[in-house]
């Protein structure tokens, strides 16, 4: 059930009240309640797919326990359990893509072979909970974490409802100790959680969903628009995907906080990055960390020759592209980011330590443009469409078709984007400055205004989160 749906918000007060009504001495009952709720919410979409979630949970739980007991052939066992726990991800998400690619590839050399396709939906959030569970198992395998003995605790670790659909991908060392020792109710933490919820809802419903109306219209009819409109749509998509995904992450973090749990912050103002390398330190932080710990470092990381290090970066970003989706557009998007990271490393421009606001600003702009053009690949249905759009941007200048959005929507977006821009700039460059903004009166006014703006200006019948389909 999406966290932005009215149905969820009708159910959540019950989840919250029952959870906190269970006395802390019955902590097992609290955990069972959360497991039950998490599974029921997940089953609300397609009940049968809860079995996939349970399968991955059981395999990784048993795998981690077996690493502790078996001393010989641990390597083979590690591979076996990893492949087994990733099997649902491969089958549901990548089988059709591999089948189609193989068939097309063989046809190029004159061979005709076609395997039956699978007409199954991809279980929602499978990439996220698979990686979280496999990450735990690999941590145990490498001796970084003791295997979990309580199956109920582990069930909750993998299925915790705020993060199951789109992360953040938690590490066992961060989240399992919180599950083992549930925190007592904290008014301050609850209040903090509600603030996250409010801002997350605002950027998702008012900004992302509103921008999507324009972006979807332009991308679905890209051939009739001029380059300026396509460029504007690409910029709007960059903002949309950020607000959509960061909005979801804030909702997940906020919900978890109201239940007494802390989740990793997934975003840190990514569009104020001074390089693409910097961007990846700020964008989808939990996935970047997972890939770094489980792919990049095991490959040798940067403690090897330069050439090998560049290779490691490329492989990591290739896998990042594949993780995002079973299509050549995602693969090319991942490889492109990998190449840019390698080039930045070669040129020594991964960070900016100077003090010139102009140079910093220009680097931020350049980084945004690079990331923005890469998102065109990400958003397009196929590579040729992406290149057509990019080509049109550079060859056809004209009046952008913003009037299609209507004056009211332009005004709403201008206000909402200004708020986002101001908040991000203040947090990045002037934290703690403009003290009046921290006064309780101003904050109270801001919270009421945000809440009203969500209902008054939001797209209230907006759809799914973009990252939920990954």
């Amino acid at each position: 059930m999406p966290l932005n749906s009215i149905h969820f918000w009708m159910v959540f007060p019950v989840i919250f009240i029952v959870y906190w009504l269970i006395p802390i001495k019955f902590k097992q009952a609290r955990k069972i309640w959360l497991v039950l709720v998490s599974y029921l919410l997940y089953m609300n979409w397609k009940p049968a797919f809860a079995l996939i979630l349970l399968f991955i949970t059981v395999v990784t739980f048993c795998g981690a326990l077996s690493f502790d007991k078996v001393k010989s052939k641990k390597n083979a066992l590690g591979w076996a359990f990893t492949l087994l726990s990733l099997a649902p991800l491969f089958v549901f998400k990548y089988y059709n893509f591999l089948n189609d690619s193989l068939t097309s590839g063989l046809e190029l050399v004159g061979l005709h072979l076609s395997l039956p396709g699978l007409n199954w939906a991809v279980p929602i959030g499978v990439s996220f909970f698979s990686f979280q569970a496999v990450g735990y198992m690999l941590d145990v395998y490498r001796g970084r974490f003791e295997p979990e003995k309580s199956f109920v605790d582990y069930l909750l670790f993998v299925s915790f409802f705020p993060q199951i659909m789109s992360g953040p991908i938690s590490k066992a060392s961060e989240f399992l100790p919180q599950i083992k020792k549930p925190a007592p109710f904290s008014y301050e933490k609850g209040k903090q959680g509600l603030k996250f919820l409010l801002w997350g809802m605002f950027i998702k419903i008012v900004i992302a969903d509103r921008l999507s109306l324009f972006v979807d219209t332009v991308y679905s009819n890209y051939s009739v628009h001029n380059g300026t409109t396509l460029f504007l749509a690409s910029v709007f998509y960059s903002i949309q995907i950020y607000c959509d995904f960061a909005g979801y992450s804030l909702l997940a973090i906020g919900l978890a906080k109201t239940l007494g749990f802390n989740l990793i912050n997934n975003f840190r103002r990514p569009y104020l990055s001074v390089s693409v390398t910097d961007f990846w330190r700020r964008w989808h932080i939990s996935l970047t960390r997972w890939l770094k710990e489980n792919i990049y470092i095991p490959l040798g990381g940067n403690r090897c020759s330069k050439a090998r290090c560049y290779f490691n970066i490329l492989v990591t970003f290739l896998l990042s592209g594949i993780w995002h989706g079973a299509a050549w557009t995602f693969i090319l998007w991942g490889v492109l980011h990998g190449i840019i990271l390698v080039l930045e490393k070669m040129a020594g421009v991964t960070v900016y330590e100077g003090h010139s606001p102009l140079v910093r600003g220009l680097r931020m702009l350049l980084t945004f443009l690079i990331v923005n053009f890469a998102w065109i690949l990400f958003r397009s249905p196929d590579i040729s469409t992406a290149f057509t759009i990019i080509g049109t941007i550079f060859t056809s200048v004209g009046v952008p078709a913003v009037s299609e959005m209507g004056g009211a929507v332009i005004l709403i977006l201008a206000v909402a984007l200004s708020l986002l821009f101001f908040k991000e700039l203040r947090e990045e460059f002037f934290p703690g400055k403009v003290r009046v903004l921290d006064s309780s009166v101003f904050r109270g006014f801001a919270y009421v205004s945000l809440f009203c703006m969500i209902i008054l200006f939001g797209v209230l019948d907006g759809g799914q989160f973009i990252y939920a389909s990954f």
Binding site: I6, G406, G407, A408, V409, L411, I412, G444, Y447, V448, F451, C452, I455, L456, F457, G458, L460, D461, G463
Partner: protein, 298 residues
Amino acid sequence: MFLFFLAVGACDCCVGILGDHLQAHSKGGLTKEFNDLVINDSHDILVLGSSRALHHYDVSYLSEALGMDVYNAGYKGNGIILAEGILELVLQHSHPKLILYDVEPAFDIYVYGPDDKDIRYLSFLKPYYKEPGIAQIFKDVSPKEWYKVHSGLYRYNTSIVTMLAERLVGHKMPASRFIPLTGVLQDDSEAYVNTGVAYDDLKLKYVARIIHRAGSEDIPIAFVASPKYGMADSSELDAIKCICEQNGVAFLDYYADPEFMSHREWFQEPVHLNATGAKHFSEILAKRIVSLLPSSQN
């Protein structure tokens, strides 16, 4: 927390009162146009439907040809559910002589895409949710929507900005609600055909309901399928044709009319006629609907 919700409640009431005032005293733009249609004005012939109604029915020509006041109440992206709401409101103060409903299968028969939610057809009706007949539409579409619409913030979501702008800037009213399209269909692309798409039972229920509502006031109603380019036949409209037949209502079928199918230059794109096409269509229609008017039946 209490103060927070108190402040939100106060804002909700204020926005509701402001929105209701702006709606009732609108001075221009779409708000005034719609308000006049459903609250103040009377018209002899009412054309209801989607953008296809808006772009295809040249009301100036029709008014002149028929010697009657014809009003185009087609609204982009809308269909039978809004039309039924409009009729409920119009019937509270006027009695048209004829109602023409232009059919668009996506809005009147089938589920329009995977994310189609019928609540989107309620946008125009939100300010009138307390009016007789309208409450039932909200409850039919979604009982939750009926409760949500009591919130002023929700009721005037997004539209409050437009209403304020119309009030402050004073948008001009167009002379006629017929909007002719310019441009010519360049290639032989064809309109999307709704084959294998699920029926939307609520939409079909409302087709029958609008027929019965007009019938209860002794107002003749006719369903018109205006042309779509590249159509081989009008079989995708069978569900509506069947309801019309069961209720003895005229169904004027130009959906795949050979004359229009052979004139690509009459279309702006497959779903919409351009100004030339609309003129031809209105000429043909004017001759046909004379027979539907009450005076001709006596």
